[in-house]
Symmetry: C2
Subunit: 165 residues, 2 copies
DNA sequence: AGAATACGTCAGCCTTGTTGACATTCCAAG
DNA sequence: CTTGGAATGTCAACAAGGCTGACGTATTCT
């Protein structure tokens, strides 16, 4: 193991620093989900519905399979969520034009409205954090998070990020 | 609101940037929990057990109430987790010396061993991400996460961080 | 024609969260 | 010394949201 600090200090890689990073992730994620959770409680929906709505809004017309691989859950689990959203008229499922086995998912006006409410709340917190930390901290934040993702997730993340749409 | 971009660009606060931050959090958190989850599956334990073990290890002798407020769950929920860990001999619960109503929680040797296995896996990923991103990115990462926490969680985070122990 | 794909659904299970109710033990204030 | 309240444990019941396995249907590909 020749990881000798070559002049450049590697103090940021001590177990102590890593542990702090881990705990920061844990506590911050709680804040990250707190506001949407608050809005959803009492609305008969949960975090799973939020995630579905978020990614359908982000990629209108996406297929069930694509959503499945982004969310990383089973189709049975997603289906339960999707069914209630469709029944309640927040999501519309259209038979695919080219491949009729597929279903293309869209938010209805009501769905888009809930999405806005949720993402406004979540963005407000993110905005406050970004503003408090400043642009270069934000760049670092993103770099570390990207490096922490699994390969599959990074592909999805980049595909969404690099969109011209 | 006099938050006019004073020469300094505020492009990092656009809705698009914020959305990317949100999605980065979502995808990265999956990676963050993936390795411990893999280790725990088949061991009859889950993420809740991991969290309890982590914070007991971090603060040996902590009380149930303190753990409750760190984890942000109900005592019934924590109790279920704690009971199985105590039964399996991973955690020891000692009656408080000063206040005998309290229970002081400690990891046994077996508990400490599982803790090490889990945190090694989680630290490996964090280390790889930190190393790939570099020290200044790591500083930014931490700054943003801290700013994202709820006030209560930030207090817990800082109390753990600023420990001399 | 037959295999593979995309989707939906039924049934049942697990973990982890919740509320509500209640018992015990013990500290501290009156 | 008694009593109120705090800290803890525990029972029961329930819900959300994961999971597996099996099966059915429509569609498309080979």
């Amino acid at each position: 193991m020749n990881d000798v600090p070559s002049g450049q200090s590697l103090l940021f890689l001590t177990d102590e620093q890593l542990r702090q990073g881990i705990e920061a992730m844990f506590f911050a994620y709680r804040g990250f989900t707190a506001d949407p959770d608050r809005i959803l409680e009492g609305k008969a929906y949960g975090r799973a519905h939020h995630r579905a709505i978020h990614f359908i809004n982000r990629s209108p017309g996406t297929t069930v399979n694509n959503l499945l691989s982004i969310l990383g859950v089973t189709k049975q689990s997603l289906n339960r969520v999707l069914r209630s959203l469709i029944e309640d008229g927040l999501v519309e499922s259209r038979v695919g034009k080219i491949d009729k086995r597929e279903r293309n998912l869209f938010l209805t006006e009501a769905g888009a409205s809930l999405e806005r409410e949720l993402s406004d709340a979540q963005r407000d917190r993110m905005r406050a954090a970004f503003r408090a930390a400043g642009p270069s901290a934000v760049a670092g934040f993103r770099q570390v998070l990207e490096a922490m993702m699994d390969e599959d997730m990074r592909r999805h993340y980049e595909a969404l990020r690099d969109r011209t749409t």
